[in-house]
Symmetry: C2
Subunit: 330 residues, 2 copies
């Protein structure tokens, strides 16, 4: 038997904001699981800003795009996976796929929603956790600034910082997002960077300076943060969403880097797989925090694989609050 | 008895390149050494790019400027210092001064020229040594790029990198400087950034990428180096001479910082006093290297304290090859 599976292909490399017509929904036929194979039906797929630079270079054209997904095992001829189990993979942007098991990691939902395993309990959460605690070497009580703080990674980072009893300044692009950050996520100061002059707002928000700036944005945000960094301050660079849609990831000009020198500030890029060895500790901490009501999350869920291109494009116009997901099946 | 001592005062804070009329040579009278005091006559004083940001802020107006100097003890009523001994201090920009001893460190010339203790054997050398080996965590055989490489710190850094068997790319602002770097200091590739397009030249010079970029310049140099950095590359930021003469140390725009992310590159500012604990090891290494002919240095020496303002201004037009010094007495 075969079944029809739709998948999302990239037709053309975007130079600026990706356009809907650069993607195509393609129907394919997926066979039953053969010997040693697992057939997976995807339930949720993840859409992340970090995918954007890959679309400009590594992502193959005219093939299913790679992205995080949670699926259900619908057939298994593999000793390690059983029908009905849930698995995490990088085989998103398609409805069904066959695997020899090597791409799959089993998920034990443990009473928590499956979708969270793509968000706070998944790569998103581990990115915030490792970036802040390892690369950022966050200490209790420090002053932390997080940009794109209403996004999936940012909203996790601000809450980890609050759990570590830090003074947290957050930036986001709408009053609604700022209200959520203040009222629900308990950040100390939320700055709407579209309405406030970031440099002055940061000075007012953190008169004693910033110890850790968790950078999701780059460009003008980084430019404004650098003069506010304290001695031995750290800037873990998670992403630069402001630059992703410029050809070659060219950012807005940063002209304040000389502030690194006398304060001996460290700016360091990181990627989530550096923290793989922390995953168990991360999961245990994060589950505790969710159950204790200290870690909240929001999801923006679009329905149906045909929405995947819009979900990706929407990340760059701020269409999401928290994690952007596409639901492919129930 | 008193003696006349001339000293250099700052009258006005420069916003761009310092101007001669912003300095004044002032005559003062210096007394004999009192109880517990040492009278020092300065022989050489150091003129460094790093002084420039201090002129914009911390340096008091209408008082002798602070700067490194080597002097001779001419009178001593202090048990730790004897007449005729040589001392290092931060009391440059004046001909004579009295000290209670706390500002003085005795120098044992050890058969090497006194002036070297302001250069390769002094703060300049320790800056290159610590910045490259500690902040830059240089490993043998790596590819290293050094900007302002014909300057005092840069020319020391390239030679340390060669001693560590690295492939060394250097930039400087004239063909004469590049010839010295290639022929005398044995760098592998010297780029005249005024004649060559830095970004293309760097790609040609280091086709396998850069592991450590020792940044003395910032701005366009940093912008060109970032896309060439290898995974886990390090950028110790020693100075940003390109930015010092802009109000607030604003650099030329850097727009390529997103290259930090996937390659997990670290950019870190440092200051020389972080390496004080290394000074003995540094001195031992450096003396060995000088005696073995592996560490060469050039000095640009102007004569007489009245030349001090010109020496400082000249740093920003590239008037020096190697260390810029003023000789105050023999």
């Amino acid at each position: 038997m075969t079944r029809t599976s739709r998948e999302v292909h990239l037709l053309d490399r975007p130079e600026n904001i990706p356009q809907r017509e650069q993607f195509r929904i393609v129907e394919t036929q997926v066979n039953d699981a053969g010997d040693g194979e697992v057939l997976v039906q995807n339930l949720f797929m993840s859409v992340d800003p970090a995918m954007r630079p890959r679309l400009a270079a590594q992502t193959p054209l005219n093939a299913a795009i790679e992205g995080g997904a949670i699926g259900r095992v619908v057939q298994s001829n593999h000793p390690d996976f059983k029908e009905g189990e849930h698995v995490r993979s990088l085989c998103g942007f398609r409805e069904y796929f066959l695997s020899d098991g090597t791409q799959l990691t089993r998920i034990e939902p443990d009473g928590l929603p499956l979708s969270a395993y793509l968000g706070v309990l998944g790569t998103t959460g581990l990115t915030a956790y490792g970036g802040l605690l390892v690369t950022g070497a966050l200490q209790e009580g420090e002053t932390v600034f997080v940009s794109a703080a209403a996004g999936a990674v940012g909203s996790t980072a601000v809450q980890i910082a609050k759990i570590k009893r830090c003074f947290v300044v957050a930036s986001a692009g709408s009053d609604e997002k700022c209200a959520w950050l203040r009222n629900d996520l308990r950040v100390d100061v939320a700055i709407n960077y579209k309405r406030q002059k970031l440099r002055h707002a940061l000075k007012d928000a953190a008169p004693k300076g910033i110890d850790v700036y968790f950078d999701n944005v780059g460009g003008e945000h980084l430019n404004a943060a650098l003069p506010r960094m304290n001695p031995l301050g750290r800037i873990p660079v998670c992403g630069m969403i402001s630059a992703y849609n410029n050809f070659g990831s060219i950012s807005e000009p940063v002209t304040t880097l000389s502030n690194l020198i006398y304060n001996r500030v460290t700016l360091r890029g990181f990627v989530v797989w550096e923290f793989e060895s922390l995953r168990e500790k991360f999961l245990a901490d994060m589950k505790d925090w969710i159950r204790a009501g200290k870690m909240k999350y929001r999801e923006t869920i679009l329905d149906g694989i045909e929405q995947a291109p819009n979900a990706l494009i929407g990340l760059f116009s701020g269409a999401n609050m928290g994690k952007m997901l596409v639901r492919l099946a129930d």
